[in-house]
């Protein structure tokens, strides 16, 4: 009896302890470690220049600036299965921006995903990548952001369903999925490779889109860079696999894609990747691009669903009449002939504009045609570099069924695979 009681008490104590532990785990305020730049950190104009470069490479603007909004004023919506969250204002505005954040708070946000008031941030903010950044670099970004014109404008409130609106839950998620150490150079590799690794894994946070995610929205690091998705767009496999990834691309082709968004024989970037190129990658020095290429070459090959392998386009034989057309793709062919062929060509090599050279693009061999559908609906534009030399948006022009037929034709024509897009999927993509 005694022992029974003892066990009960012990169990109760454990439960209480566990509960208290759990409460403490989820609700104990986050610490705020003091931070200091190393001696190597530049100062003055040099620091700001470094900060600007890092801010560009980290592509902060992509999420913190809306299409029509002021720079870094936030407000971009992220539509997730469990609700919508909005990127915050990161200008130096004291009320709505980060003007009155301390350096330590800024570093904590970047490395640990914790907000000014100790609240846990959602991993739409790629802190699992930024955690690998050096404190110096984070402080340089911070220094640059303080020079951004303050915009006194709040971000909309997040709209999340229970339990996802419970921020402390993120602590459990972080416990499981946050990297434990900052980036450490591999001394067996040269400086270029290490610079590439730092860019890909930390600063440019490529894996946030290109690495598949698990049930808990975590990046599946065992399949790193083997392809993921973002806002319905597919981010392709960029491992060194020959069939699924970049294994067949030359160094120059990878570099060209990264810096211009297109390379002959491998198609064009569109959607979020187009944006990453426009806002960030195209502005990086060639040495950075080469470093990324050097690193990507060593990413272990990962294969996937056979239907996700790239089909090489047979440019030389493709023409208006080259693919067998069934009743379900005839309409798509008509639309392609009218609206697409005059610019892209029947063989996809692009008539006038290298950016129209879609031939060989991974998107064209995707039976779900996710990216094809989206680029048709939204178009693809680059206002700064080439006003109007762009793919027009056809969302208002063609019906769901027409876009589906077009996408299915494009997949069948260029890859020989059967497209599976339905009108309902197009409606969802709008």
């Amino acid at each position: 009896m005694k022992s029974w009681r003892k066990y009960t008490i012990a169990a109760c104590c454990l439960a209480v302890l566990g509960f208290v532990g759990a409460v403490m785990f989820f609700y104990w305020p986050h610490g705020l470690p003091q931070v200091e730049a190393s001696k190597a950190q530049p100062v003055g104009a040099e620091l700001l220049a470094r900060g600007e470069y890092l801010t560009t490479a980290a592509d902060c603007a992509a999420c913190h600036t809306t299409k029509t909004g002021k720079a870094f004023a936030g407000g971009l919506a992220f539509k997730l299965p469990f609700g919508t969250i909005y990127s915050p204002n990161i200008t130096s505005d004291p009320q709505f921006g980060i003007g009155n954040w301390s350096d330590a708070e800024f570093v904590r946000a970047m490395k640990s995903g914790v907000g000014k008031h100790g609240e846990d941030l959602y991993p739409a903010f790629p802190y699992t990548s930024y955690a690998l950044l050096s404190t110096d670099d984070i402080l340089a970004i911070r220094a640059y952001l303080t020079t951004i014109k303050p915009i006194s404008q709040p971000s909309p409130e997040n709209q999340l369903a229970f339990p996802f609106n419970q921020r402390p839950l993120m602590r459990g998620w972080k416990l499981l999925f946050m990297p434990w150490h900052p980036f450490e150079p591999d001394t067996a590799r040269d400086e270029q490779w290490n610079q590439g690794a730092y860019l890909v894994e930390a600063l440019a946070h490529c894996g946030e889109c290109h690495t598949p995610r698990g049930l808990m929205f975590q990046r599946k690091q065992s399949e790193a860079l083997s392809g993921g998705d973002v806002d319905g767009w597919k981010a392709w496999n960029i491992t060194s696999d020959k069939k699924y990834g970049l294994g067949m691309w030359s160094d120059q082709q990878v570099a060209e894609m990264l810096s211009t968004g297109h390379t002959k024989g491998h198609g064009v970037a569109s959607g979020p990747m187009r944006e990453a190129i426009d806002l960030s990658l195209s502005k990086l020095p060639a040495s950075d691009i080469d470093a990324i290429v050097a690193y990507l070459r060593t990413v272990p090959p990962v294969t996937g669903d056979p239907n996700s392998a790239v089909v090489r386009t047979r440019d030389e034989v493709l023409s208006a009449s080259s693919s067998p057309i069934g009743p379900d793709t005839q309409l798509g062919k008509e639309i392609y002939g009218g609206a697409c062929a005059s610019c892209h060509g029947w063989n996809g090599v692009g008539q006038f504009n290298p950016r129209a050279a879609i031939s060989g693009g991974h998107a064209l061999s995707d039976p779900e045609a996710s990216n094809v559908v989206r680029v048709v609906l939204q178009g693809s534009s680059d206002h700064e570099a080439a006003p109007g030399k762009t793919m027009p948006a056809f969302a208002k022009i063609y019906s769901d069924a027409e876009v589906a037929a077009l996408a299915n034709y494009v997949v069948e024509h260029f890859s020989g695979r059967k497209g599976t897009v339905t009108a309902e999927e197009v409606l969802e993509a709008r």
Binding site: A320, P324, G326, P327, Q330
Partner: protein
């Protein structure tokens, strides 16, 4: 804008001599950047020698074309005819549209002013030759009297007036004003066709340059200051009426000025086209379908099948079909063919611009195929004196029959849209491509059933052909346009019966380039071809053996065979098909070479075409019309159908699903024109009917598959 209208003495120069003064229109006050349409009759102060010829001081000769120029070449053809008799130089010739006038500018085949039935040259040939010769005589008289020499010493050559004895010489411009005051001679001598110097030459077309540099003004380009652009929200179903509509959202759109109900739908008026488009999209209309056509094309075809074997309207009957029902020597064949509704889909959708002026004259700019009917209709709808309406025919971006409508239903809509405004601002009413594809006035859906027999020797013994479909002319009795090309066959057939059945649908019907021949030619020529194949006859030789007396049929067929090197086998994987159709007085034979394309349907590589249209006024235009008609007809038989879906709404909407032939599908074409002294006939339509059966016959010989359900590539519409 100030208009000075000198009332033209509307006396046809043919009926009586007399002085016809020039139409003087003061230069308009042009506001910056306004685009004005062409004023009918040319409009500037040119000396008018008769209803069809004006001459300017700079020697240019402007002919007034009573026929609309929408691509088939009447400007060039009519100017050639006038220039020939006038002895003008081609470089000095110009052409404009005549004013709208059913009397002076009547189509002599129709009795009213109108373009159609490929009749522009045919009906105008003598009239315009006379106009040219008369004008020449007046110039000669004027020059002779000025020079004080006898008229028979004055000659005209290449646009110069010459006096041999004195060596005096002048241009037309110098004597034009004087000539205009002379009483035209009652009868003039026309040239001996052997002496023609311009007719029969490859003269450059008059309208090419302005259509190459973008300066040609079509109706849609008429953009006066203060213009309202109006689009009409039109019903989803034929015969539907407005039940109610809500324009709240439409009125909120910037640029939308007004929204009004008109008999044809709900009109949205805006200060620019895009605002009108947005505004129309925003109008919420509920339609009353109680009197609408709610049957699908399939249901209509099924209904037609119940009629096709019934007794109908007799279009032709000879011999005795019953007598030869049996006989060992006879091979029998029976086919049913289904032709879909077809839209004309001219490049320029229907449009009209109304420009009121303070002096009470209403100018209408439109690509009118029946201009005076349009003018009178507009006046009636708007409720004003027709004399106060001036209709200015504009060059049009194609028509193919679309703009030729009895009762001018399009003008009724456009005029109603103008009438519903306060009538102080110019209004442009236009259709979009969707309005055009879904707006009706189609080539009707037809069901044919034909049975016949052929002897082993290749003689067709029986022929029983029944056609079901709407009467384009709206007749209760036999409509010749439904059976033309079927009721009179070029082939000798002792026992023949052709029956027609008129049906009534709420879908408005209209003639479509080549009218009845667009379907009868297909049935006749595919059926004959199949009969000949059954007895192993050669498609060319077999037809030649069957032809009646008329040698012109044989000549075009033989000529087509000659240029196609008929007899030499085509390349591997290809077959050739033949068709021979006379329409609108013009004989056309075509041979099409076809293979199976990678996508499974036919690819047409080359078409050889021989044509006999009588006197060839301008071989350049004739060749162009053969090429264009082949392309137009080919696109239709390969791809086109307007389908009423379940519930009766039109399935197609634009060029994505009612598609056009594209350049990569255009065959190479070789045209031979038969030299002929017969009166000239038209070329705008006759090249359309043969291409369908020529391709279908090649396809059947290549694949064994008979084409009885059009279009051949019916995938998107079936």
């Amino acid at each position: 804008m100030t208009h000075v209208l000198t009332h033209v003495t509307r006396r046809s120069f043919l009926t009586g001599a007399g002085l016809v003064l020039g139409l003087l229109v003061a230069p308009r006050m042009r506001a910056f950047a306004a685009v004005d349409g062409a004023v009918a009759g040319g409009g500037s102060n040119l000396a008018q020698l008769n209803a069809f010829v004006k001459i300017a001081p700079d020697d240019t000769v402007t002919i007034l074309s009573k026929h609309i120029e929408f691509g088939q070449g009447p400007f060039t053809g009519l100017a050639t005819i006038v220039a020939e008799e006038l002895d003008a130089d081609w470089a000095q010739m110009r052409a404009v549209h005549s004013p709208a006038d059913d009397k002076i500018y009547a189509n002599l085949q129709f009795g009213i002013q109108g373009t159609g039935s490929s009749s522009s040259i045919a009906n105008s040939y003598l009239q315009f030759r006379t106009a040219g010769a008369t004008a020449r005589a007046m110039l000669v008289s004027a020059a002779a009297s000025a020079w004080g020499v006898p008229t028979d010493e004055v000659f005209v050559e290449k646009g110069r007036i010459l006096h041999m004895g004195s060596g005096r010489e002048a241009g037309f411009g110098q004597f034009a004003a004087m000539a205009a005051l002379i009483t035209p001679p009652a009868d003039v001598k026309l040239k001996d066709p052997e002496k023609f110097v311009l007719i029969g030459q490859q003269l450059p077309k008059l309208d090419t340059v302005s259509k190459t540099d973008g300066t040609a003004i079509f109706t849609i380009d008429v953009i006066p200051d203060d213009l309202l652009v109006a689009l009409v929200a039109r019903p989803s179903h034929f015969g539907a009426k407005i039940k109610r509509f809500d324009d709240t959202e439409a009125r909120k759109i910037e640029g939308v000025v007004d929204v009004k109900a008109v008999p044809q739908g709900v009109a949205v008026y805006a200060s620019n086209t895009f605002a009108a488009l947005k505004g129309r999209n925003a109008v919420d209309v509920e339609w009353d379908l109680s009197e609408a056509e709610i049957r699908s094309s399939d249901e209509i075809a099924a209904y037609y099948r119940t009629i096709v074997t019934q007794p109908g309207l007799q279009a032709a009957e000879s011999g005795d079909l019953q007598r030869n029902k049996s006989g060992d020597d006879l091979l029998k064949l029976e086919r049913e063919l289904l032709f879909p509704f077809l839209a004309h889909a001219p490049m320029e959708p229907l449009d009209a611009v109304f420009v009121p002026s303070s002096d009470g004259i209403l100018d209408i700019y439109t690509g009118a195929q029946f201009p005076d009917m349009d003018r009178k209709t507009a006046a009636k709808v708007i409720g004003i004196d027709p004399e106060r309406v001036r209709l200015n025919t504009q060059i049009a971006g194609g028509s193919f029959g679309r703009k030729a409508q009895f009762g001018s239903p399009y003008m009724q809509e456009a005029a109603a849209v103008f009438a519903a405004t306060d009538r102080t601002r110019p209004v442009k009413h236009m259709w979009t491509r969707e309005d055009d594809i879904r707006g009706g006035w189609y080539r009707p859906l037809y069901l044919h059933r034909v049975s016949g027999s052929i002897s082993k020797a290749g003689r067709i013994i029986d022929w029983d052909h029944s056609i079901v479909g709407q009467s384009v002319m709206g007749k209760a009795g036999l409509d010749e346009t439904s059976v033309e090309g079927a009721a009179e066959l070029p082939y000798e057939i002792p026992n023949l019966k052709v029956t027609a059945h008129n049906t009534k649908l709420a879908v408005p019907p209209l003639w479509w380039r080549s009218v009845g021949h667009s379907h009868t030619g297909f049935t006749v020529e595919t059926f004959v071809d199949e009969l000949l194949e059954m007895v192993g006859a050669d498609p060319v030789q077999g037809r030649l053996a069957l032809l009646k007396e008329d040698q012109r049929y044989a000549a075009v067929l033989a000529r087509a065979a000659e240029i196609a090197s008929w007899g030499k086998p085509p390349a591997a994987g290809r077959e050739r098909g033949v068709a021979l159709v006379k329409s609108f007085g013009t004989y056309v034979a075509q041979i099409a070479e076809v293979s199976r394309g990678p996508s499974g349907g036919p690819v047409v590589h080359k078409v050889w075409c021989a044509v006999d249209c009588g006197v060839a006024i301008n071989p350049n235009v004739i060749t162009a019309q053969m090429e264009g008609g082949i392309g137009y007809g080919l696109g239709a038989i390969l791809f086109n159908a307007i389908t009423l879906g379940e519930g009766g709404a039109v399935v197609q909407s634009n060029f994505n699903d009612y598609r056009s032939l594209r350049i990569n599908e255009m065959p190479d074409i070789e045209v031979a024109i038969i030299k002929s002294a017969a009166p000239p006939k038209g070329v705008g339509e006759p090249s359309v009917p043969p291409i369908g059966p020529a391709v279908a016959n090649a396809w059947r010989r290549l694949t064994g598959a008979r084409v009885t359900n059009l279009p051949i590539n019916g995938l998107i519409t079936s």
